[in-house]
Amino acid sequence: MLGALRVATGRYHLGLVVSWNHTSQIDVQDVMRMRAEPFALRPVGMNGAIADALFAGEVQRRCGVDEDAVAARIVQRQQVAQRNPRGLRRAPQSAEAIRASGYDAYPLRRAHQAPASDGCVAFVLASGAWLRAHPQHRALARIAAVTSHIDSYRLDAGRVGAMAGFDAGLEDLLRRAGRDHAAIDVFEAEAPTGWHEAAIEHHLAGRDVRALSPSGGAWAQHPLFCMGLVNAAEAALQVAGRAGDVQVEDVHFAVAHGSHGYAQQGHTFVAFERVAA
């Protein structure tokens, strides 16, 4: 988002946005536990998995999703991810294996969570002025809008699972893109668990979304803190028609989503439009 805003100032014409994660070097939950403030959350042992489980419990209650539905969703997403040429193509798990995996924190089972991976992603951004001055270079996609939205740090039932930040951020994005009621051809969501994807699909229900995470999302690759930029890359490739075996037909408008914080406290969105040939 900052890269796009910098170019939009007119002061910068070429930008490089890079994100990498070497998740294999750490115990992710140790890192996530350090995010807990020291007065209430840290003494109870809060970490990322427990926060995600609180989220999952609220998704169960609010969206009527059960564990069987989550397992079926993960199986489907794993199958999609197998086709992503940029994905890791991990061996998919069966619904039975997912249902049989142990709880990390109820109702979140180990296999409900996309395994973390190492990885890196980079973008080159260019201003319209630069592209006009360099006609030998062609844009893959036009950034139609960027925005972000953050919710409360609290993990109470009123916040967790409500996805208020997701709804408000997406609405702001579409308004800025001038597409309040238009179809979204592709929505690449940051959904680190099957529960998150179910929640996002629930909150996209009122919108005309043709394809949700056709890349396979976190099940294709999951370098934790790069996922927002990975999703942006996948969305840009979709509007460019260069997504390979996961290409959705005739994509004109794609949205990439990233999230951060306990139980998706913050949401960031980028909208891409197809560039006329």
């Binding site: 805003l5 100032t9 007119g10 995010r35 020291p38 925005t147 953050i150 409360s152 740090y153 609290r154």
Partner: protein, 400 residues
């Protein structure tokens, strides 16, 4: 085309070794409320928030910006954290500037807090900025790292320890006029020279304190600024530069920028001057609020930024050229030598520079300030950010 951007409100807490009476988030809240009150705005008037926070290991809560969201009025708004080590405050301000200059937002709050003394020894944390394969295994931290570059500069230009000590004396004296400064007081060159040796040529008094505190700034587009603020400080130049983390690569004949001279900052400063139409910084810029955590930073950086020829800054310093009533007032607030909440320091520099332009610096006020420069430096002295503030739009900004 950029939209003109101005600072319309500034808020700071006091800075000290410990803040036992307030939590991290309460410190951030106090600075935010003071900045909003200064700008005559409420939290609801703010369109987006940028958070300035360097390594969170210092205060023991990782990514503590997220904890602060509810306390600084950020809930329900676009929110972004920026981290470029010691340069964080400068970079965060630049990010906030981009939010407004792009035309996407009109009023943005940039805020940060730090509590460095929550960790037993910040230098162990700072050792982690080096790569794990080569330089991290040396006894490197920010003190030993900059001591090496200082030795190189001293050998090249014949600067003495006493000349650095005079910088400390001036900073502590200036800080006496700053109600928020951490260290302040009348000290002598002998006091500096007799303070405990840390890493040659540094003694304890050559080195900044580890500070706790918070700062916030409200930025706005020109129309809002002129409506709510009698004398806004316009952002007329933003420049930043990055270099390799490897120090050895900056000490060889093929290096682009020499490690001893902090020559990278020349690129960032010159970009500011280009944007603002500044052709003679020593004559046109009255105040420089520098990121100078060590007494040795001022000389090479003032030279790199074009205030004086290479190798002349120490002599000019001795002659009083950098005193508040000198050729250019360097650090009238006492600067980073007296106050260093690392993740916020660059923001404090911008805040103090803005107050000078706005004519609201109180006892620190330097007369006739139309342009003030703020700097920030981070990483292994590899990230530099410069910000120029002016009483009116200038150069490119004047045409926007």
């Amino acid at each position: 085309m950029s939209q003109n951007v101005a600072v319309i409100g500034v808020g700071q807490t006091g800075f000290r070794a410990r803040w036992d009476s307030m939590t991290y988030v309460e410190l951030a809240q106090q600075a935010a409320l003071r900045a909003l009150a200064d700008a005559r705005l409420t939290p609801d008037d703010i369109d987006a928030v940028v958070f300035s926070m360097a390594p969170t290991h210092f205060m023991g809560v990782a990514d503590c910006d997220k904890w602060a969201v509810d306390f600084i009025g950020a809930r329900g708004k676009p929110f972004m954290r920026v981290h470029t080590g010691g340069a964080t405050g400068g970079s965060a301000f630049h990010a906030a500037w981009a939010h407004v200059a792009s035309g996407q937002y009109r009023r943005v709050l940039v805020i940060g807090a730090d509590r460095i003394t929550e960790t037993p020894d910040a230098q162990f944390v700072l050792n982690l900025i080096w790569d794990p394969l080569y330089e991290q295994d040396f006894a490197l931290n920010t003190v030993t790292m900059t001591a090496l570059s200082t030795q190189r500069y001293m050998a090249r230009y014949g600067v003495t320890e006493e000349q650095y000590a005079r910088v400390v004396v001036r900073a502590r004296r200036n800080a006496m006029h700053n109600p928020n400064a951490h260290l302040k007081g009348e000290i002598t060159v002998d006091d500096v020279m007799n303070s405990p040796r840390i890493a040659w040529p540094y003694k304890l008094f050559d080195i900044c304190p580890r500070s706790a505190g918070a700062a916030a700034i409200v930025l706005a587009d020109e129309a809002t600024a002129r409506e709510v603020c009698d004398r806004p400080a316009f952002v007329t130049g933003v420049g930043a530069i990055s270099n390799t983390v490897f120090q050895g690569d900056r000490c060889v004949p093929t290096a682009d920028c020499d490690f001893a001279e902090h020559a990278e900052i020349a690129i960032a400063a010159n970009e500011c001057y280009r944007q603002a139409g500044i052709t003679n910084p020593a004559k046109e810029i009255r105040v420089v609020e520098m990121y100078d955590p060590f007494s040795s930073f001022q000389f090479p950086e003032l030279e790199s930024m074009g205030f004086c020829p290479r190798g002349s800054a120490a002599r000019l310093s001795d002659e009083g050229a950098f005193d508040p009533d000198g050729m250019v007032a360097v650090g009238p607030s006492g600067g980073t030598l007296c106050t260093n909440p690392i993740g916020v320091t660059g923001l404090v520099r911008v805040a103090d520079a803005a107050l000078q332009v706005m004519g609201r610096a109180g006892a620190m006020q330097v007369s006739g300030v139309r342009n003030a420069l703020a700097t920030a430096a981070g990483g292994s002295a590899q990230f530099f950010a410069c910000t120029l503030l002016s009483d009116e739009p200038r150069g490119q900004a004047a045409l926007a």
